[in-house]
């Protein structure tokens, strides 16, 4: 009899293999009515070049991917358990604790330095603007949705609504909409930042207060509806939002104080630094929040709502708070996008967009700030890579098939995400320790 650990490993490998086979066939050469099997046979016969490195039939390539993913995932798993073991032994000593703190601080400092010099390294204009539009903005969105979904455990499928509110608020205060700006003054987008954040938070409260009594699936459906309603408003309220065409008259950020005059928009890099500043602000704010009284209340509600009520937590109050706070960063992301692209249109604010943000959070690790940032960076870079410079044999229109496959593979190997929060990692470690001792006992009985 095989040990259960080995059986699990084999099952995982086979599941991955089946997944890759499906992806390979779907994204492979097309068949035709005369020869329906040609797509399959060509996968085996037709050589594909991979970055010009080597030439091989597609199926070999995908088989190699399977093995590589499997090995990386297995290595990572064994390493992360040993890291946890070291972690546990070092936490016993206070000196090791301060050392760990130093390591953590220097890691963060190092990452910040890398983020600061990144536009100097990445000089390609496409990638520079992707850094802002596709990565920084999505990090902001993922950070906000992480508060709602990761901290408070509420599934929000209409998160794009808050982003839309931020973008339209910017268009409104800068006078780019048919609706007259407040007091008839065309303001700089800078003033849109507080207005958009406040409006998004108010929308969070308005949506949250009546609906957050619902749980689980019901809440997901209502939020999905809210996202669609906002998109429909944007599309149909022609005299307010400009209808389906939206507006493309939103000005860039400008800065005039005394002798200093600065105008954003000469390239993506100034926007990058503006976004980076706000990303840092939101990271600090959200991690303080996570470890505050409010954060503990969210954890309690997520784990057991009845128990949370029995210790005196008002679930509705804290859930509405999570909605409003999570909406804030989406509101700001809306301002960023509107001002940088000068453009808002309802076509952006779709359900797929909300799901995309959710994918970043799930991929990176729900409830973990570092995780969702890593998730946003990796998934968005991958998307841009497939869209902009797809390797031979990969088509941009297959993007969502690849993304789906990556998510499924994640669920097989790291269900809690790339960098799960400490609580979830602890949960996983416990499970693994439990499992491996059970395996050893079984093996022991055999011999």
């Amino acid at each position: 009899m095989r040990s259960p650990v080995a059986a699990t490993q084999i099952r995982r490998f086979l599941a991955l293999l089946a997944l890759m086979a499906v992806v390979e066939l779907i994204t492979g050469p097309p068949g035709s009515a005369e020869e329906p099997t040609i797509g399959i046979t060509r996968s085996f016969s037709e050589p594909t070049s991979f970055f010009g490195l080597f030439v091989t039939p597609r199926f070999v390539l995908f088989f190699a991917f399977t093995v590589i993913i499997y090995l990386v995932a297995s290595l990572w798993r064994s390493q992360s358990t040993s890291i946890v073991a070291i972690w546990n032994t070092t936490t016993a000593q206070p000196r090791a604790f301060t050392q760990r703190r130093a390591v953590r601080l220097s890691t963060r400092g190092g990452l910040l330095v890398i983020a600061i010099v990144l536009p100097l390294i990445v000089t390609d204009p496409f990638w520079q603007s992707s850094l802002v539009e596709q990565i920084a903005v999505y990090i902001l969105l993922a950070l906000g949705l992480n508060v709602v979904t990761g901290f408070a455990g509420l599934l929000d499928l209409g998160y794009v609504a808050f982003y839309a509110i931020g973008a339209y608020a910017t268009a409104w205060v800068t006078g780019a909409l048919p609706l007259a700006p407040p007091f008839g003054i065309h303001m700089d987008p800078f003033f849109a930042i507080p207005i958009a954040i406040v409006l998004a938070m108010v929308a969070g409260v308005i949506l949250g207060a009546p609906t957050l009594r619902l749980r689980g699936d019901y809440l997901a459906i209502v939020t999905l509806g809210f996202g669609e309603i906002i998109a429909l408003f944007a599309n149909n309220l022609n005299t307010i939002t400009g209808g389906a065409t939206g507006t493309n008259e939103i000005p860039h950020f400008t800065f005039h104080v005394g002798p200093v005059n600065y105008r954003w928009g000469l390239g993506p890099v100034p926007y990058y630094y503006l976004a980076l500043g706000f990303v840092v602000i939101f990271i600090v704010a959200f991690s303080l929040l996570e470890h505050s009284r409010v954060g503990r209340a969210w954890t309690a509600i997520r784990e057991d709502e009845v128990a949370a009520e029995s210790v005196g937590i008002n679930p509705l109050k804290y859930k509405v708070m999570a909605f409003a706070i999570g909406a804030a960063s989406a509101g700001f992301a809306g301002v960023m996008t509107a001002a940088q692209t000068n453009f808002v249109s309802p076509a952006t604010f779709t359900l797929v967009f909300s799901i995309n943000i959710l994918v970043l959070v799930i991929f990176g690790g729900m409830g973990s700030i570092a995780g969702v940032i890593l998730g946003a960076v990796l998934v968005q870079t991958f998307q841009m890579f497939i869209i902009h410079t797809p390797p031979a044999g990969f088509q941009p229109q297959d993007l969502y098939i690849y993304l789906g496959a990556i998510l499924v593979a994640m669920m097989i190997f790291r269900p809690a995400g790339l960098l799960p929060s400490r609580r979830r990692r602890r949960e996983l470690t416990m499970a693994e320790v439990g499992k491996s001792t059970a395996g050893e006992i079984l093996i022991g009985e055999q011999s």
Binding site: A300, E303, S310, G312, M430
Partner: protein, 234 residues
Amino acid sequence: MLQVTDTIVRYGAITALHGISFNVEKGEIVTLLGANGAGKSTTLRMLSGLHAPESGTISFEGKDLTQVRAHEFTRLGISHVPEGRRIFPQMTVEENLEMGGFVRKGSFDDDVDQIYSSFPILRDRRKQLGSNLSGGEQQMLAIGRALMSKPRLILLDEPSMGLAPKIIQQIFEIIGEIREQGTTVLLVEQNAAQALRLADRGYVMENGRIVLSDTAENLLHDERVRAVYLGEGV
């Protein structure tokens, strides 16, 4: 201290409580007995704000509780140990206890220490996750967590459920100690013999009504109680 008068609770067309009245005085242990479906849990749901009575009044230290919402009870000095313990599974023992003090301001390290001295096993397990505790330990943790809010009245819903006799014995000793330390106890139990040995007074419920009320001593020797709940033939 706690006065329940003529409360009627309905779930849709079904009447779960047909106008029950009882009271708990300061410093007492009062037990509410009854078979499955007698209305014990509904009574506790009503007393913790999860289900408002259709008519009748609940008053605690002179305040009307009829319309108070579930999470406000803790602040008023009533703490609920829910049925099935309801430990936060992914929090450590210590974090669970800290959550218990959620409504209180300031530091409560001393109180955590006090809970540990009442339940030494919890101190040994302080860094373990709630879900990894045994049933008895979880019950102790649930009681400890409820005590963290310094309640004047503690409601215990079936604390002996699913536990080994030896552990039940231990839990009941702890309930006795809680009273010694000045907290009034309302204990809902199926385990009538042990509950009556510990309690001062008891009420027996049947089909949503209170059919008997007396001192625990008398109930323990009551023929009907012995026949139905203590499993002795008449």
